[in-house]
């Protein structure tokens, strides 16, 4: 069994221990394994391919520069911790940028016109993005982690730093608001 195969068989926590000892190969294995997953999360939060890639790169380079920031003794999984790193970078990025490229120019239909108003696909996507970005931060995270990333309630709760019950409440509130907006402006689902 060669070195690369050995590394591929190691779990994240063992790999990060090797990164702490300076192993570039272990670092490369971690990046290969997880860069797409963290990119997806970053993209959901910053709505830009380039920015999301930069954020994921910055997060991994931080890990490479200061691998001891990960404390195995604290229990949690590497991915849970690293999601938090990426999410914090995304929120910092959003604060710096002040606004995400939301479609400010899109006119909302008259509320009375109901869901029959037709938007093209692009406009629908832009509106949906806007509805999600207008949710409170923790509700956004809950929807992104549970619905789009398909994480378990338990893992999502750990990432956000709340109890499972609180996470479920965040998901429910977020979906209720989204459902209302979607029904109102895009037509679909019920309240």
């Amino acid at each position: 069994m060669n070195m690369d195969t050995k590394l591929l068989n190691l779990d994240d926590e063992s790999l990060i221990c090797q990164v702490q000892e300076g192993s570039h190969e272990a670092f490369a294995t971690l990046v290969d394994r997880h860069s797409n997953r963290f990119y997806r999360m970053a993209y959901r939060l910053v709505s830009s391919k380039d920015d999301a890639e930069d954020i994921v790169q910055e997060a991994f380079l931080k890990l490479w520069d200061r691998p001891n920031l990960w404390k195995p003794g604290k229990g949690g999984k590497f991915t849970t911790w690293f999601y938090r790193v990426v999410i914090n970078l995304c929120f910092d990025h959003r604060k710096k940028k002040k606004l995400i490229n939301l479609p400010e120019d899109i006119e909302f239909s008259d509320e009375n016109s109901g869901p029959d108003v037709l938007y093209d696909v692009h406009q629908k996507q832009a509106l949906l993005e806007r509805f999600i970005h207008e949710l409170p931060e923790r509700q956004q995270l809950a929807v992104n982690l549970c619905f789009y990333e398909g994480l378990s309630n338990n893992e999502a709760a750990q990432i956000i730093g709340v109890k499972v019950k609180a996470l479920q409440s965040l998901v429910m509130r977020a979906k209720t608001t989204l459902k209302y907006n979607v029904k109102q402006y895009l037509g679909g689902g019920s309240r």
Binding site: G22, Y43, Q57, L61, V121, Q125, A126, L128, V182, S190
Partner: protein, 149 residues
């Protein structure tokens, strides 16, 4: 045990429209409740449509070389870091496969050797003879007119 309408509605928001994917402990009771209620079946259909809309959310795939780019960006950082004295020593350590304890022992013995060396060196300062004094002694020696053996 079956669940009531409100409980089902709550779980529907929490776990989504695919009841077969709900947690095991509530799945069978949820399916029973759903079977017997056309109203809930309509709610589930609505939820499916809503999730369909959520799934139309825009997403762009990352560049194919994202991982490679990150890995490559980490390499120059490592080279730069090697100029650092501490990193250099840790690399030496890994090169010779010394354990941390062995490395500490070697370091301590080196430091002690240095301290002992300095101590000996400074203690000789009291017996130090300047070049001037040395010259005087040499002159005395040359002008010595005593018995020659």
């Amino acid at each position: 045990m079956t669940m009531n309408f409100e409980q089902f509605k709550e779980k529907l928001l929490m776990y989504g429209a695919d009841v077969r994917c709900w947690p095991k402990d509530i799945r069978s009771s949820a399916l029973k409740t759903l079977e017997s209620s056309p109203e809930l079946q309509k709610l589930v259909e609505d939820e499916k449509r809503f999730e369909g809309v959520l799934n139309t959310r825009k997403y762009e795939e990352p560049s194919r070389d994202l991982a490679g780019r990150i890995v490559a960006a980490a390499l120059p950082k490592k080279k730069k870091a090697q100029r650092n004295f501490g990193v250099f020593f840790s690399d030496v350590l890994s090169e010779f496969s010394l354990s941390r304890r062995a490395f500490a022992a070697v370091s301590v013995s080196l430091i002690f050797t240095l301290i002992i060396g300095f101590t000996i060196g400074y203690s000789n300062l009291s017996g130090y003879t300047s070049a001037e004094q040395y010259e005087t002694h040499l002159e005395d020696f040359l002008n010595y007119e005593g018995d020659v053996l």
